[in-house]
Symmetry: C2
Subunit: 453 residues, 2 copies
């Protein structure tokens, strides 16, 4: 019996116990957007870590506390896990088949708010640690956990926490909060996140809406001001018109292009799932679509609001108008720089009346696909999944990985239990028990290999 | 005792009775937007006319019925009154000091939904008829009434009604549903209404909103399509860019400019009431503002809606976006032509994906300020008001006056009981009893002078 066999056997035998623990965690609501149950959930997570012999501290942040935990292991290396115990709001409740905070298993699937995002990731890692400690009596390396409670609300206090705790967080590598398989069932290694700069643009031109018959010819109109200001940001060929916006953009490297070229064509999946009839810039699919999807920085209108929006007509000239706009940033752009450029551009175009409210930003961050730790994680997946893990050098989303990059300077990998139908932020959020077991096996192998390295 | 004295004395003596009748009419809700009480109110209005010896018909239209009434008089001429018995919704109810359908008099002011718009105009005209019939035993001319129940919902069946009843509606002149004094207390003669073309522009680019991290670089965005399409309609210097839009615009005549130049400066009033800090095109006020206000056709965004509009941020790429847009039209533009030009323009600009929904249109219509009937009405006001009635050749609003112009070809004047604080469409709608009495006196003089002409 190899080491893997003993560990795998343990995981197989104790799966139900771990699902029970996960169910207990899911049953504790922890909705950061609604400030609901956060302290309680942090306490519960801390208790679970303490039961495994971790030294645990619940660290106040000004918002939801961070659960910090560490435990020394056999080898000299230190592995850091980043997770979060908060979840998205469960609304709309009527679309759930079962109450969101009453976890239910059906046909090999666990349903409940947060089962995969991110509580299943937390307990699958604890489960792997249980197996290793049961088989070997100790951890193969030092393990640290940072489990925050504000990931679903832009991680507003995380950067301060990591900076203030830079020394005790020191580690050699980090496993990120998410991970899993793609629509083909192939395990994916997501190595980078784009940055984001999210703003609200707003205009106010009068103290009240005015009858359009009176004001239409002579009064400034907030909705028109907003439309013209937005139009100045991007042309219909998708060129972002803010001077300097593209200055810091670096093109994908040959190695990144090589990795992207190994990914499957996503065009049919996107056309089918979202009902789009074409892609921007005349792109048909394949590598071209994969590259455009992540290496092209964006300026996306996420929302527009002004004046009358009900049925039929109302002849009103709006006094107020606003737009939510996000910029997805690629290496080496920064949200601070984009904010500066945006203000300068609007002013230069005569839109001094357009107010910018900064609603949050993340810098882009990448891990080198040829970092030895990445290879370790890919190799560790071999005995777990039927198919070879594929490396995605950059994904379209954003997150606080740059904070760990900036202050701890370590490689960050993904390894997890999600699948594309997890409905992480939607009703009937779910997790496949088979992938949960595989995820735990993978984590155990990563820890073991890391301890030997 | 002159004729005027006897009529005025009657009105003075019977004011309370007329206010009681108006209160009874106000107490009958008749909200066309909510299809509430329309048949009942039509019946009540018909009853009031029948009591005065009018031949009354409640004419079905497919929507709210039209109350049509006529009564022959001494002279050969026929005067037509256009009114409406429907009112705006009373909501928001919590902002009323008294229940909207329980009329209350306080300090010479009658409060209630519809007291001036338009039920006070109806009863003030009946009141004038009472006085004339009491003093002379007959009407000085033939009088006809068209009192519709859909004025607050775009008069959708009025055009068909007038066309179908063209012969029996024949008249020599028409008194419109509204009228009154301006902010200085000067009686105003509004002789024209602009046209309107109200559309909704909408775009759909996918079957659901997409995460902006996924779709931002590659998926079409409905909000951006809408912004670009809107931007193609008008530039930041207020030039409407639809080819042909200005072709049918006629400039104000020297006579119209002369009349507009006699109006008071409105710039301080507008700056103060609406909190606007400037007027479009660098206009400061005076005649320039008066002319721009009505003789410049408009393209007004009345509303914008797309994607996420709540607090904070949501990273979503909207599948749908729409805008409400109204065009105010000057002589000799037409809403049908503007619709055609708009479609052709959007297509030519590549916005075949932008759908246009026609939400209603009115043509502009004018009455010649030198029509003898206008002079008659201005002269008739002399003994009623302290100040000379002023003629406004065109106002900024819109309405169905063109229907009467088109099918009956008659001059249309205004004479009424409103003041700028009437709050016609807002809570605490009100009417000054003093102006009510004056309005009735004016109507009596118009009828008398018309019968003698």
């Amino acid at each position: 019996m190899t080491d893997f066999q003993a560990v795998d056997q343990y995981l197989q035998d104790h799966l139900q116990e771990s699902i029970n623990e996960l169910s207990r965690l899911v049953a504790q609501p922890s909705v950061s957007a609604q400030n609901w149950g956060l302290e309680e959930c942090a306490g519960l997570v801390g208790e679970m870590l303490a039961q495994r012999g971790f030294r645990v501290e619940i660290v106040p942040t000004g918002g939801a506390p961070v659960v910090y935990a560490e435990k020394a292991g056999r080898g000299p290396g230190t592995l850091l896990f980043y997770n979060h115990y908060d979840v998205q709001p469960a609304e709309p409740l009527e679309l759930w088949d079962n109450p969101p905070f009453v976890p239910v298993v059906k046909d090999g699937v666990l349903y409940g708010r947060g089962v995969s995002d991110d509580k299943g990731h937390i307990t699958s890692r604890l489960f792997a640690i249980d197996a290793l400690q049961a088989v070997y009596g100790e951890l193969p390396c030092t393990v640290k956990f940072v489990i925050e409670g504000e990931e679903e609300t832009s991680s507003v206090h995380l950067s301060d926490f990591v900076r203030a705790n830079q020394e005790r967080l020191r580690a050699d590598a980090c496993v990120w909060e998410f991970g899993g398989v793609d629509f083909r069932g192939v395990p994916m290694q997501y190595l980078g996140l784009r940055g984001i700069c999210y703003v609200e643009l707003s205009v106010e031109t009068a103290n009240q809406d005015v009858h359009s018959g009176l004001g239409g010819s002579i009064f400034p109109n907030a909705a028109w001001r907003l439309v013209w200001a937005l139009n100045s940001l991007k042309d219909a060929d998708e060129n972002i018109l803010i001077p300097g916006f593209y200055d810091d953009v670096r093109q994908p490297t040959p190695r990144e292009i090589e990795l992207m070229s190994e990914l499957p064509d996503a065009s049919q999946e996107y056309r089918h799932r979202y009902g789009v009839d074409h892609f921007l810039g005349g792109i048909q699919g394949g590598l071209e679509l994969r590259l455009a999807e992540v290496y092209r920085p964006t300026c996306t209108i996420c929302g527009l609001t002004s004046g009358y929006q009900g049925p039929g007509s109302k002849t009103v000239l709006p006094a107020r108008a606003s737009a939510k706009v996000d910029f997805r940033l690629v290496p080496n752009q920064s949200p601070e720089r984009v904010l500066e450029l945006l203000r300068a551009h609007l002013d230069a175009q005569g839109f001094t009346d357009v107010q910018i409210t900064n609603l949050g930003g993340d810098a882009p961050a990448l891990t080198d696909p040829d970092d030895p730790f990445v290879q370790l994680v890919v190799d560790a997946s071999a005995g777990v999944y039927d198919q070879q893990m594929q490396i995605v050098p950059l994904t379209g989303g954003s997150g606080p990985n740059y904070v760990f990059k900036q202050y701890l300077d370590l490689p960050i990998v993904t390894a997890g239990v999600s699948h594309p139908g997890s409905q992480a932020q939607a009703p009937n959020a779910n997790m496949l028990l088979d992938l949960y077991l595989k995820g735990a096996k993978h984590i155990a192998r990563i820890l073991q290999a890391f301890g030997q390295g």
